[in-house]
Symmetry: C2
Subunit: 565 residues, 2 copies
Amino acid sequence: MNSKWRKDILTTTNQKLSIFALGGVNEIGKNMYVIQAEDDIVVIDCGAKFPDETLLGIDLIIQDISFLQENKDKLRALIVTHGHEDHIGGIPYFLKQLNVPIYATNLTLGLIEIKLKEHGLLRQTKLFMIDSESELTFGSIRTTFFKTSHSIPDCLGIAFHTSQGTIVHTGDFKFDWTPVDEHGPDIHKMAALGENGVLLLLSESTNAERPGSTPSERLVGDHIEEAFRHAPRKVFISTFASNVHRVQQIVNAAIKTNRKLALLGRSMVNVVSVAMERGYLEVPDGMLIEASEVNSMDPEKVVVLCTGSQGEPMAALSRLSSSNFRQVEVLPEDTVILAASPIPGNERSVSRIIDNLFLLGARVIYGSGSVTGLHVSGHACQEELKLMLTLMKPKYFIPIHGEYRMLHQHRILAESVGVQTENIFIVNNGDVVDIVNSEATQTRSVDAGNVFVDGFGIGDVGEIILRDRKLLSEDGMLVIVTTVSKSQGKIISGPDTISRGFMYGPESGELINEVNQLVRTTIDKMKDNSRNQRVLKQNIKKSVEKHLYSRTKRKPMILPIMIEV
Amino acid sequence: MNSKWRKDILTTTNQKLSIFALGGVNEIGKNMYVIQAEDDIVVIDCGAKFPDETLLGIDLIIQDISFLQENKDKLRALIVTHGHEDHIGGIPYFLKQLNVPIYATNLTLGLIEIKLKEHGLLRQTKLFMIDSESELTFGSIRTTFFKTSHSIPDCLGIAFHTSQGTIVHTGDFKFDWTPVDEHGPDIHKMAALGENGVLLLLSESTNAERPGSTPSERLVGDHIEEAFRHAPRKVFISTFASNVHRVQQIVNAAIKTNRKLALLGRSMVNVVSVAMERGYLEVPDGMLIEASEVNSMDPEKVVVLCTGSQGEPMAALSRLSSSNFRQVEVLPEDTVILAASPIPGNERSVSRIIDNLFLLGARVIYGSGSVTGLHVSGHACQEELKLMLTLMKPKYFIPIHGEYRMLHQHRILAESVGVQTENIFIVNNGDVVDIVNSEATQTRSVDAGNVFVDGFGIGDVGEIILRDRKLLSEDGMLVIVTTVSKSQGKIISGPDTISRGFMYGPESGELINEVNQLVRTTIDKMKDNSRNQRVLKQNIKKSVEKHLYSRTKRKPMILPIMIEV
């Protein structure tokens, strides 16, 4: 534990200070911000992002950390604000490239440890537990913390005290004045930071487009209890496993309505056990039952808490909806509660699950959280963002963690509470804000961008591979193999054409014959002039492409292979 | 024109009547419903659906019309309720398989004609113009119509008067009491139908999950005018081209704010000219300017009306947002209005466009129509659906046009206004409701389902092709070619391995060497036993797959090719 502020080494010289956005601006996901005071670099968060449907075959997107690799001798710490995927998901891949000690709170460390175990990295990684009272010093950077409210417990905002002034990074936050665990946001600490002077604020922007304030998580608890009370038979409820406060409220509602609780889905089981072990979740003895016990219980006495609220096809809710779960079944008059809003992009898969659940005869409670009361956001809306800006009253402001329109709206909010327009920096990933003599400028940038993880490969899949996958996915491919004699260029065997993903059935056979004839003609023509293989293949490719397009309006990938024997 | 009710041939015997859902239930898109009275078949609508991202390379989804092909001698007419894609998009493909006269209103015919021209089908197709006063008789089916309000003008609901009773199909509708074109819904006709007795109602379900009523289209006009008035420079506004009422309100707002109007995007130009020609859109002379004139005009005097409100990557708005339009540019302080809500699935692409427009310095007005007032739905919400059900007071009810949860909610609405639960049929595509002695039952079904259009191919792409495309899209493929001697099975040339979409760079070379060595070993082993090519290829496939997965955690498609010379 390195929680003592080592005052002795804190320098007071006017060192240049730099802030790097390596991920998390102009996007949701893969957050990573970096602070450098000359010889000391501290990284904040290391998230991952899930690819959209255009990135074929990609498993995960992480940051380009070449800047950190080039400066690894200065790298002091990775501080993690909280345990969500977009803040911790990149850690195993980071550690495979660079070793760094990690500082995080108890629950956050628990969630990080699950990942490190999966990647076989737990033993070799230095993990340090901190809390909101910790003080850390990394060379000339002294670090203090404040508690924030969010949709996962044990979140921190960070204050970096440097010779240039204080830099505050909010982490993810909302202001929940009636928190489920009675750990409210450290508003007095935030106020004190502002009073003492904040040079630069980095504040999250996820809900910057939404007016008003985000309701308290407690609101959800009341609605869950009511829904459980009115459910005639079994209750299934799906939410993010990491929303431990909501899980606690589900436990509480189950107790009050005299129901036992079963957990379905690997991440639900993992997170609940970590949260219970570390004291973030209170579940009375005998409350939890095994999934295998559900069928034999009185349906009025059961709640099944499951993963898959975002429509993930392999998660519990999706499998339940297609009657594809070995031990548990959704039956007519069972109640299914979706206690989460679909993240943009997931609407269709979530809708499909709801359709299937209705088809099974279930009562499904779904829809916008503002209507059902069964979901609230974990992020600050406009009034709360203005509160944070007002508390911190920073000289400089960088809106972080959001797509461009959110950063843009956050800038307007900052202007409205008095931050000077010219002191607000909307940056791109890779951009650097340098501070000298307490004056900030944004003039340079470093390498940053998306690194794709595909299987074991980190960064080996690039534009060419993705372009080929896209081509293959649209109209498939044809391999045309011809064996020719080395001496005369005469066809010895073939052409033989094999297609995949292109066409099927009788029409295909006829077309393949045409292709083979076309290739024969092309080879024969070329024989007389030159037997340059590259040119020959190009000619085959072009003529076959042209023919197939005119016949089918499809453009499969053509791979001509010439064998000389 | 066949608009006379030929009373003479109207039979009064008690013929069996059947209603077929061939598309449009349990889905949004590709609507097609069919009514059959013994020897007479009438088809209602022929829509298409756009594929989601899982249907790789598919251009369009249409209905399986094998039932109609088997009964083509009975096929009398295709009646089209209105001109939206999900009601007309399948017509060219239908006509390529089956000839049928088409009956539709003036504007709907205009939009159908655009499609038929594109497919070279206009001259050979019989088109009949009808209006809400038309009466058509097809054998024993007499057909009358009533006007409805929707997000396109000239919409019809249909009443089929048969010996079994009256069947009503609503088409798409809302109740707009203050319509833009002063053609309100024919509520008195609807009431009269109900008073005279409706045996079966088929009513659309798109907004059955939404409480309340949909606001009038007029509301949008006021907000558009206000937005134009406050715009400091050029205005760009994007909406569905087919929403002619909204286009009219945009024209009106442009006139009132003293701006000229340019049209961008092929479908906008097409629809506006059809609507003007046919009298659905009034645009004063001199109001329209060419896109090429925009840059030279005073920016305060211009509105650009463009396609692409759903984020379609090739449409005008997307190209404007990436500064990829030859003639027109979005400049700082220009205003861009998104007068449409993203259809589920399109949120991400629309968001990306908004981000890019903000980056260009534009003022972007976007967000939920209920907040901005710049979009209203074209579909009836719950109170309006109950009004339709109450007006028609049908004995039987089939909720149509919606995903399952919408049909389910519509059923609950029908029950709430007094339709007997056992008289409500939630059907699947292909299901048939038979009516004999004015009693309806649902016991049988016919072939129905998704037919994929890919290039010129209709229905030739099936599960196998799609599975191969998915495989290819995820990890690419390897072709391994080996030439062996026919006599001894000895390797003469190769193995040579070519990969696409799999791996790239130096690591790939090493792996390919390993694969070639593995193939050599496998062939050598086999040589001693048998030279069954099929088994040999299987063995190569399996061993290479296993090796690559252990080395890369990827599963490319493996195509071993053996040439015997």
